[in-house]
């Protein structure tokens, strides 16, 4: 699967409180959550972001709370994929579980500008910066996680598993 979109760049340690502030957690509606995505760090983000755009960030993206509302808000805002130098572990799990594609890539951030157009090939794990012509690769998901992604998220995966009568 290939994704193409313009980049929105963020720094290190982007925490779940800035991705979706707690004051909006009195709902689980993705559309409502998406209205406040990144609000506390970039109030203009929701107006700028277009469907298919790609978020690029530094180390430890998604640190902090376990709120799954964070990847849901990002996905709901139209972002098709998040590329970061590294992800906090709960965010990583949550993104996979809800079907928000994420890639770890160290080099890209230092050679990218806001608004560059990226093409991401999820199955190959490759990223092409169409604006600069440079390409990058990221580590492939372990087989087990690919199964979850391919099943369409963890719920579909466990449905299949429970259906097969695992203990």
């Amino acid at each position: 699967m290939k994704l193409t979109g313009k980049t929105h760049i963020f720094g290190d340690n982007i925490d779940t409180d800035v991705i979706i502030p707690a004051r909006y957690l009195n709902t689980i509606d993705p559309a409502e959550l998406a209205l406040h995505c990144m609000e506390d760090i970039d109030a203009a983000f929701v107006d700028k972001v277009q469907k298919g755009d790609i978020m690029v960030a530094g180390y430890n993206f998604g640190c902090g709370s376990s709120r799954e509302h964070a990847p849901i808000a990002i996905k709901g805002s139209g972002i098709s994929c998040v590329i970061a130098r590294s992800f906090a572990r709960i965010f990583y799990r949550n993104a996979i579980n809800i079907g928000l594609p994420i890639l770890e890539c160290d080099e890209i951030l230092s050679e990218i500008s806001e608004g560059d157009c990226l093409e991401v090939d999820l199955s190959a794990g490759t990223i092409l910066n169409k604006t600069t012509g440079k390409s990058y690769s990221s580590e492939a998901f372990p087989e087990f996680m690919r199964e979850i992604i391919e099943a369409g998220g963890e719920i579909e995966y466990i449905k299949k598993k429970l259906g097969e009568g695992v203990d």
């Binding site: 689980i28 572990r89 709960i90 429970l162």
Partner: protein
Amino acid sequence: MASAMTMTQKILARRAGKESVKAGELITAKLDLVLGNDITSPLAIKEFEKIGVSKVFDREKIALVPDHFCPNKDIKSAQQAKDVREFAKKYGIKNYFEVGQMGIEHALIPEKGLVTAGDVVIGADSHTCTYGALGAFSTGIGSTDMATGMAAGELWFKVPDAIKVVLKEKPQKYVSGKDVILHLIGLIGVDGARYMSLEFSGEGVASLSMDDRFTIANMAIEAGAKNGIFPVDDKTMEYINAHSNKPYEVFEADADAPYAQTVEINLSTLDYTVACPHLPSNTKTVKDIGEVKLDQVVIGSCTNGRIEDLRVAAKIMKGKKIAPGLRCIVFPATQNIYLQAMEEGLLKTMVEFGAAVSTPTCGPCLGGHMGILAAGERCLATTNRNFIGRMGHTESEVYLASPAVAAASAITGKISAPEEVEK
């Protein structure tokens, strides 16, 4: 021959039904408890219903605690709390704790004896790592994992590598677990233990009370850790026996267990430590912090709202008055702690001091309610996060510290060491 394992790895191996596991290995482990709150459970319930099972894996191994926006802060929160309550009723969940009998989940769950040594616990709340203080493996996950956990009673995990934290000697008077963990996070950074366990060890552990250990394990996530864990000693067993009838199993790290890194902390030389805005790793000692004037002091949360925290704060406040122009808000973490603080006269001391005392709730800790900050306001809190906007306006500031420092600062109106007010 089985290879040497860390304490965490041993627990995971046992619950995965394996003789040994290695860091990086993907395993499926049986769950002893699945936890959720009023913010994360509604999403988990929605996902759970999609799975299409007619019952939860075990009615006694799920705990639902409405603590974040409860007592209900607005109509939408009331609906979320109602959804959780109805789910608990529909599936016969035994451990649902209503307002009036509840507390902040991570203080409440150990108190109710729902976790004991050797357990594998997941919670849709990042501070689920708190129960590592009891020698259990416990970690935060999201709502979808909570849903699958409630249905299947098992979950996949990547076996973590570990950092060994060796504690030496004893802390000085008023230096507490909070100073230990803030100091450690300052050393290794907010992602210093990312994907790893923080395994505490050394002779210094014995000098830490259970409340100190809960505080330390609680903030393991603030270093990015998957879990924090303490060895089981006499104090742990005494705590478990006093709170639970559940059988428990004590695991010990092998002497030659593989650690990615070892960090040593000499408790006797530790000073009062404060995390400055906007990261828990941005630490300074009170000595080096300079003059930091405050608008609000918050004492409470799953990190520092336990009885010892209230005792030390009340001791420092006793007979004194709050600084003019300052607000001080105290949140005992559970109903039981509230009652105990009442019986010991701690609440009276605090109210006489000029503090507002609230019913147990997460409240201001996550900028929910009961003490939100306006633009430009500065708060010192005994909570665990000081991210931008965590307690209110994005232009407000949060400093993290121990209850002793919080109480002293409430007297002077600026960040202060307890000795400054005890002269």
